[in-house]
């Protein structure tokens, strides 16, 4: 057949396709079913064959002749050339594929090396770490995952080194703790959660007599003495299984049978999850401590009894004291008091007194003007410095009356709290006696002062006229016949003046004596006021022209008073006014008649009275410092004051810019005597 196309056509000898009697050509190298398919579809049917006819390609084209009979026209051609071409192409492809395969294998080798090398290196480092060689340098080349793995490995290396360091430290601590526990004087044993002893120290063996071999694996109840009941152990286990520490005293039994008290502390040990894994028990033999405690308790009991007796004695003394005793806190709240205090303050019972708050036993103010609170604060301050002190205090009774007390205060502390202990003594009588003594002392001082003034006055007011009289008498005795008559009269007049001055001074002294003795005569009678004033003025200044101006002209007005005493007052006023005023100045006598009072006032232009000495103005023998050498006994205003007081009136001194006003006001009426109440 070669590469030529071979054509054939055939009709079955029977000319009937249904009989399938085809030509051998078709049977030889065609698909046995190709005819059927061609005639069924009446379309070309392609097929291949490889047999004695060779290897070819065939086509069957169905058709019909002019008689309508079906026939099939076929053609075939050899495919050897095509196969050869295909095989050649296939070989080329295989060669090319093998080339690509070699390249692929090379690439895969390179890629594998690139990927695996860092992993291999890291694996080597991990192996080194596993062998304990820490701190290997870890490179930073490779893919991101490898770099991340390297960083993780480095972090793991650091973490392992840190953990190893901590473990080394912990191991050292553990060694120390283990050694400490082993060497501890206290017996220590450790049990697991079920209560099985897993470790004991040497002291345990010493105390109990059980060796470690004997104790380990057994329960702590091998020490049980039977002195504690079931409830005790039940509570113990409940406590430690709840994770709490159990601490108590317990009586256990040694291996040889003797009992001993010990203090045991059982502490649950927990793992990182908080689960109890072990219990550690630390025990201490407290035999000696118990004996010491019993001894101490006995001593405490004895001491307590002593204290009770002491307290009883103190309470007896406290209650039996005649002085009031009160204890307070630092705020002044009363804490305790005795019976005398209740009686002193006038309360019905102790409870009422103690119920009073701070300041309830004191008036609002103390005699020095301070409030009781301020004074108490100051006393407390001093007490803190000194510890104890005596003070005088003004207290207040239940009925509100005040009374002075002397307080012996002590400060002490009870349980850290300051306590004030005060012993109070009512000093009302003593104060009264002191007042009398002080009054007497003042009186004595006054008398001494009066005596001093009297001596001074007498030495001056009596000696001066006496000296003049003596001089005049000597003059008359020695030269009486030789001196002229006029001169003799002048000397005699001087004698009379001196004697009169002495008489007046003595009269004043006598009157002052009567006043001191309360024997001043007082006889009020009605008299004509203007006539009275006129006479007194002329007695004081008989010579003319008179320096005294009377501002009163009612000749018909009568008043009722002691004319002699009133005259003494007025005479004193006028004499002083004339004596201490410059010569030639006027002295005004004023009169003011009220409905039931009479006021006589004298205005002068004199030297006045220094302000500091005005309070002594009406005292006996008192003379102002600015009087100079003016004569005077210092009794005039004292007597005038007493005379005014005898009327129920008083004197008044009013300083003026250029002088003074002395006035007396007495109760008097124009119809009769009206004594003041």
């Amino acid at each position: 057949m070669g590469d030529q196309v071979v054509f054939t056509t055939a009709t079955s000898p029977s000319k009937d396709v249904a009989k399938r009697d085809y030509a051998p050509f078709f049977s030889a190298h065609a698909d046995p079913h190709a005819f059927d398919k061609a005639f069924e579809t009446m379309k070309p049917v392609f097929g291949s064959f490889q047999n004695e006819w060779g290897h070819g390609r065939m086509v069957l084209l169905p058709g019909r002749d002019r008689a309508g009979r079906a026939y099939c026209f076929g053609a075939s051609v050899s495919v050897d050339a095509i196969e050869a071409e295909l095989n050649k192409t296939l070989r080329h492809s295989i060669y090319l594929g093998m080339g690509f395969l070699l390249i692929g294998m090379l690439v895969s080798f390179l890629v594998s090396n690139t990927l695996a090398q860092p992993i291999v290196r890291l694996t080597g480092i991990a192996d080194e770490i596993a062998r304990g060689k820490m701190g290997q340098p870890i490179g930073t080349k490779g893919p991101a995952e490898i770099l991340s793995l390297g960083r993780s490995l480095a972090a793991m290396d650091r973490s392992i080194r840190q953990t190893i360091g901590e473990l080394e430290s912990d191991r050292e601590k553990l060694r120390l703790l283990s050694g400490a526990l082993e060497a501890a004087a206290n017996a220590v044993f450790i049990t697991d959660k079920e209560g099985m002893i897993v470790w004991v120290n040497t002291a345990f063996t010493t105390f109990t007599g059980y060796s470690a071999t004997e104790a380990i694996g057994k329960r702590p109840n091998l020490l049980r003495s039977g002195k504690q009941d079931h409830e005790f152990y039940k509570k113990l286990w409940e406590t430690i299984l709840n994770g709490e520490v159990w601490c108590s005293e317990i009586i256990n039994r040694r291996k040889e049978g003797s009992l001993y008290p010990e203090e045991i502390t059982i502490t649950p040990m927990k793992d990182s999850r908080g689960e109890i894994t072990h219990f550690i028990a630390v025990t201490q033999d407290i035999t000696e401590r118990k004996q010491a405690r019993e001894t101490l308790e006995q001593r405490v009991a004895e001491r307590t009894e002593e204290l009770r007796r002491s307290e009883e004695q103190y309470r007896m003394l406290f209650e039996a004291s005649r002085d009031a005793i009160i204890t307070t806190d630092s705020e002044g709240n009363s804490l305790d008091c005795n019976r005398a205090a209740v009686e002193m303050f006038g309360f019905a019972d102790k409870r009422t007194l103690l119920a009073l708050g701070p300041g309830g036993l004191s008036p609002e103010f103390q005699p020095d003007g301070r409030t009781s609170r301020e004074a108490f604060a100051e006393v407390l301050s001093q007490l803190r410095d000194k510890g104890s002190l005596f003070v005088e205090w003004q207290h207040q009774r239940a009925d509100g009356t005040s009374f002075p007390v002397e307080v012996a205060l002590s400060l002490f502390h009870v349980a850290g709290q300051p306590i004030l202990h005060g012993m109070l003594r009512d000093i009302t009588e003593r104060k009264r006696a002191e007042a009398v003594v002080l009054q007497n002392m003042a009186r004595a001082e006054e008398l001494a002062r009066l005596k001093s003034r009297f001596v001074s006055m007498a030495s001056h007011e009596l000696r001066t006229p006496l000296a003049n009289i003596m001089l005049a008498c000597e003059l008359l005795k020695n030269f009486g016949n030789e001196i002229p008559a006029e001169r003799s009269r002048s000397v005699l007049s001087g004698l009379v003046t001196g004697v009169s001055s002495m008489v007046r001074t003595l009269d004043d002294l006598l009157l002052a004596g009567k006043i001191e003795e309360g024997k001043l005569p007082f006889t009020p009678v009605p008299f004509a006021l203007l006539d009275f004033l006129d006479r007194r003025c002329k007695e004081v200044q008989p010579e003319l022209p008179s320096r005294i101006e009377i501002a009163f002209h009612d000749a018909g007005l009568n008043v009722a008073a002691d004319e002699r005493l009133l005259g003494h007052i007025l005479q004193n006023f006028l004499e002083n006014a004339l004596k201490y005023s410059p010569a030639g100045t006027k002295v005004e006598l004023g009169v003011e008649v009220g409905a039931d009072s009479l006021t006589l006032s004298v205005l002068d232009r004199g030297i006045g009275v220094p302000e500091a000495e005005r309070k002594f103005l009406f005292e006996a023998f008192s003379r102002a410092s600015n009087v100079g050498d003016k004569p005077g006994s210092g009794l005039g205003l004292f007597i005038a004051q007493k005379c005014a007081q005898a009327h129920g009136g008083r004197l008044r001194y009013t300083p003026q810019p250029d002088g003074s006003i002395f006035a007396v006001t007495i109760p008097a009426t124009t119809t009769g005597w009206a004594p003041a109440h």
């Binding site: 002019r66 492809s93 992993i119």
Partner: protein, 71 residues
Amino acid sequence: MTIRNKLILSIGSIVIAIIAVYTGASYLAQRHLLLQALDEKLLCSVENLQGGLPVDYHDRIVNSGSVSPEE
């Protein structure tokens, strides 16, 4: 087996598979194209010859001598 060998084996297997699939597919496609061209050639030839046959050709052909070599 090391990871490197695994990688080499895996990548090599993938390369071999890809080359084999590609080569096979390429061969089959080439063969299909050649056969398709041959089939078109055969069909064209057959159709041309079929149209040139005498109308009694099938009546005459009853054995191997019914058609002369010249015809």
